[in-house]
Symmetry: C2
């Protein structure tokens, strides 16, 4: 089949390596990337297993469009999460995805566990498991360089774990190409538990296209389309995601000091703005392959205590997590922190959440210098922030507790769970759901835990006309300087919009296009029909917009079923208590909380619209069968989990 | 390693075939046969899957002692059962096990499902998946002959399914060597769902032994030991298991007319006795390889309506199932029925239970001629019994309902479940537990459903001194003419004996020795220490008696955990209501029922002695960890199923 090549399987327990064809049924029902990854995980990993044991599988995947059209830059990584115990899934840009595809594969499934450190070397048809003893203990950057040196090819693309993954930090991540993180859900710890240090790839094969005669024109259309993207007036190609720091803050949604405030002074805000970042520290822009937006950056700190710090990246979330969330607005320290998490292989959000929580506990007296090994965890002390990153990655001192993730803090520090915010074990990104109440629904129903990228912003401020395929964009327009995120609870219409956006994000992740191009920009092209057209030309299989939405709904239901098998029900589609109990202390939404009753009403409506059982939040047999997932219904029924 | 060769894996979905070494840890902890089979199934098959879907695996296995010492004749077949939805496990003798081992393998794992009928051909290192289109629709005997003809070798040993397996009769079985059934739990339907018609084997390799210098003497000792076995005065080498028909009847435990009676007239009993069978119909004896007991028979009917019927086998259970359980005592009809179930590949016990139930329903007016297609299901009408076997195997008419198994009858015939006796979906063998109350505990806690071979007779009538390794045999002696099975409820001592016997049976099935030699004869050698010695000499790994019992307890707990994952708890360790509500109508135990309260007391004690949670009947973390099954405890905990 055009578009779909092989699934590569590498078993680290017994060294078996083989490839298998992607069957048509799998391809057409799950397309690629996150879609096929989740299907393989669901089918091959039994519920209840230890995510850090050999029974877990780590699956990376790209799509039929990867590497051949602007914006299709990403790979998905999927496994059972050691942090949350449910679906673990994350994706990353960079160059690795395209290189992997050019080697002739769409997915790699890593099974079992090695006894000694290894890395996987893929050079087109040549695949081998190589000794990584000399890499163990090295950080991601060193590892990447050493592998290129060992194999004598500077063009090799590497996905690696750092010391955090080796040390099984529960939110260790995979880093591709030095600075592109498949960050969430602890997939780096899964690699670490398998003693898998890296996957190095060199791909020199071409990609066969079903309709080459139409492809050049497609490419040009796509190029023009991506070039024309205007992210609500925000210059992402100049600032990247840091562009939204100021509007998010001014909108009243920005977490400060572990959600104890939403407000910075004008000077503090300027210190951490995208503009300041670009003007003071950026050396030049950088893009993934193949992309033309160049939202990433090379940066360099010229003076002050962190002079000499040079690195790559920086996102809106990173600024918040090592900045205001910890009471810090000194940007050079945030840049150093960004380097450290890329080197150690740590998830930005969980690491920042853990440090902010530690500072909060210190403020409340639940942590003291005896427990921190002498560290004073004062808000905004950037030296302490840097030190805690080291301790977490190495699992030393207080870092050994923080490495377990904020969701587990109560096991180690009595009473500490009161200060945690999470949903299904994952920490929220820099959105305060007490303010953005419609967003709360999306976060709470996300299939990988608290998250904006699963239903995008799950924004409730427009009329979704799903029957006509696309929403009416009236009501929500991201504007320069302030993002209008209505703080209303989701009405039926808005719950429908939430589901629509969850499906938009699923489509995005099945074709592995960047959020920057597709799902963030559902107010402008490329539309789902453009994705369908591209798939049709590349694969030769006729896709239309409706096919994509059906695949998306199928995937969402399968992900939900994966979590249901692990014990998830309606009771878990919520947050830890703070959002419900502690009012927003300041800013435009001062005094507001999430009302449990109204939140529950949103959930009722959401399940109803999804065709799920409202009482349990579990997909019904009817819905599963409608999506071609009868075997899933049978399985849930056999387990006594299917609603009657 | 001596003793352990390869696990052969055949994936029928993608045609992949490969072998993998048996790791030392797997070998030493689970030994072989049922042990390693169950470990592979637990680790590789996720809970809740459709037993008749491609996610199920069919695993066959032998042991390090298979084929090289008298009595080690059997292979185990294991999968998730389509009849019960829990562990499906059954073993069979014949010649196949030894042949498979001589081909260089200990286990074969059949994964996925073929789209077209196939069979697997194993000739030492040569393994292939071959077209079986020409065999589909053929019975077991025809299939066996045709494969031998096609491959041109009369020495090929074949495990096959008949039409019942093709038609997914829920209790279709695997038949080895024409007449040796891995009968229970519907493993033939699992093969049928994979479109796997047969596994043909020719093995010409030798078996390497760790201490060849000690082996000849071992062989001689073992030969003498087996030769000296005296099964409580019963001549098994003459009569086979039919020897116990008369003593079981006279003891008051023998089911007649679907458990509506325990009594036959003297003439009826004589008609179906082992003595009558041998004197009137047996042509000569037959043994499995390598065995000297020759408990099986070739038989021939010379006159009457079934003249010309010739076949092989006949067991105590078969006589009951197609005889008195259905009100029939005409032995030639039973011999024909035995041939038919061997040809169609049907489990004797479930087939007999289904026919007896149908006759019972006819008696009660729940089935009439309209529903049976004109058949009058009168007790003892052997023509009707024969006709129903045909209908079940072909899933025609009323046979299509009976093919679902008695446990499912209520779905099709309202009110019918009242007349069913089962535990966890499996029908009882020819023991009435209202009479043999201590046996009830063993049947109800068996890990594959209602069954005597899992805890042997689970007899409660002696003092078990487990601390000293072996029971004091006082209290129970099988005597010629009458078996003394105390009808008391199990005391603590007897519950302990029950557990002891469950472990004896697990040892038996891990080394794949026949019940005839080992577990039936725990009152005389060979003892567990003799098994340990044989393992030590053959494998070069030091085993002692205690090792075997630890392995047995580990296996039992893993089997329980497999079932717990599928939803089994204490509530399932019981029987359908008849045993508790309907008194024994006649015979020595007339008027007695199983008392729910006393039964529950036995269960309490059983769980307590097993170190399980008494409330739920689920193994505790402590017990699982003690047995090296921490990962199982973790998994059950992740699923919310581990007792707190």
């Amino acid at each position: 089949m055009y578009g779909w090549n092989y699934i590569l399987r590498v078993n680290l327990s017994n060294g078996r390596i083989y490839k298998e064809e992607i069957k048509k049924e799998l391809a057409l029902n799950f397309i690629g990337g996150r879609g096929i990854n989740v299907k393989l995980l669901y089918d091959e990993v039994r519920p209840g297993i230890d995510p850090l044991g050999p029974d877990n599988k780590l699956i990376l995947g790209v799509s039929p469009l990867t590497g051949i059209l602007p914006g299709f830059t990403r790979f998905n990584a999927t496994a059972k999460s050691p942090l949350t115990g449910i679906l673990g899934d994350s994706n990353a840009g960079g160059q690795w995805a395209a290189e992997f595809r050019f080697a002739g594969y769409n997915h790699i499934v890593i099974e079992g566990a090695s006894e000694k450190p290894v890395y996987i070397w893929i050079h087109d048809d040549h695949v081998e498991i190589r000794d990584a003893a000399y890499l163990w203990g090295k950080n991601v950057w060193e590892t990447t360089e050493l592998i290129r040196e060992e194999l004598g090819d500077e063009e090799i693309k590497v996905v690696a774990i750092g010391q955090a993954g080796e040390n099984l930090v529960k939110y260790a991540c995979l880093i591709a190409d030095f600075a592109r993180a498949a960050g969430r859900c602890g997939l780096g710890a899964v690699a670490g538990s398998k003693k898998l240090k890296a996957i190095a790839v060199r791909g020199t094969k071409g990609v066969k296209i079903a309709h080459p005669d139409q492809f050049e024109e497609l490419w040009e259309r796509w190029y023009e389309c991506i070039k024309s993207i205007n992210m609500g007036g925000l210059d992402y190609n100049i600032y990247g995601t840091p562009a939204i720091t100021v509007p998010m803050h001014n909108g009243g949604f920005y977490p400060v000091k572990n959600f104890q405030s939403t407000q910075l002074t004008e000077e503090e805000l300027e210190n951490v703005s995208g503009e300041t970042f670009v003007e003071r520290y950026v050396v030049k822009s950088k893009a993934c392959f193949p992309c033309l937006v160049h939202c990433a950056h090379y940066y360099r700190v010229a003076e002050g205590p962190y002079a000499g710090t040079a690195g790559e990246g920086l996102e809106f979330e990173t600024i918040n997590c090592f900045g205001p969330r910890c009471g810090n607005t000194y940007l050079p320290a945030i840049l150093l922190a960004n380097n450290l998490v890329n080197q150690y292989g740590l998830d930005v959000v969980e690491t920042g959440a853990a440090i902010a929580l530690a500072m909060h506990l210190y403020q409340e007296g639940l942590l003291d210098e005896e427990k921190t090994g002498g560290l004073k965890l004062e808000w905004g002390d950037h030296e302490v922030i840097i030190e805690l990153i080291h301790l977490i990655a190495k699992r030393e001192g207080i870092g050994n507790i923080l490495a377990e993730g904020v969701v587990n803090i109560g096991k180690y520090i009595k009473g500490a769970e009161k200060y945690v915010i999470h949903s299904k074990g994952l920490s929220p990104v820099a959105w305060d759901c007490r303010a953005a109440k419609g967003v709360a629904l999306g976060f709470a129903t996300s299939t990988r835990g608290c998250d904006h990228l699963r239903g995008l912003w799950s924004i409730s401020g427009y009329k979704a006309k799903l029957t006509e395929g696309l929403p009416d964009p009236s009501g929500l327009i991201p504007l320069k300087g302030k993002i209008l995120i209505p703080n209303e609870y989701a009405s039926e219409e808005k719950s429908r919009a939430n589901i629509f956006l969850q499906h938009i994000c699923a489509i995005r992740d099945m074709v592995e296009i960047c959020t920057m191009h597709f799902a963030s920009s559902w107010l402008q092209p490329p539309w789902p029909k453009d994705i369908a057209e591209a798939l049709t030309i590349v694969t030769g299989v006729k896709f239309d917009e409706k096919d994509l939405f059906v695949c998306a709904e199928r995937l969402w239901n399968l992900e939900r079923a994966f979590n249901v098998r692990e014990g998830i029900t309606r009771k878990d589609d919520t947050f830890s208590p703070r959002y419900f109990e502690e009012p927003v202390p300041d800013g435009p939404y001062k005094g507001e909380v999430l009302h449990k009753e109204k939140f529950d009403e949103m959930l009722d409506k959401y399940y109803e619209l999804r065709g799920w059982d409202v009482e349990t939040g579990i997909p019904t047999r009817r819905k599963l069968e409608e999506l071609g997932l009868k075997y899933v219904a049978d399985e849930l029924e056999n387990l006594g989990k299917l609603p009657q």
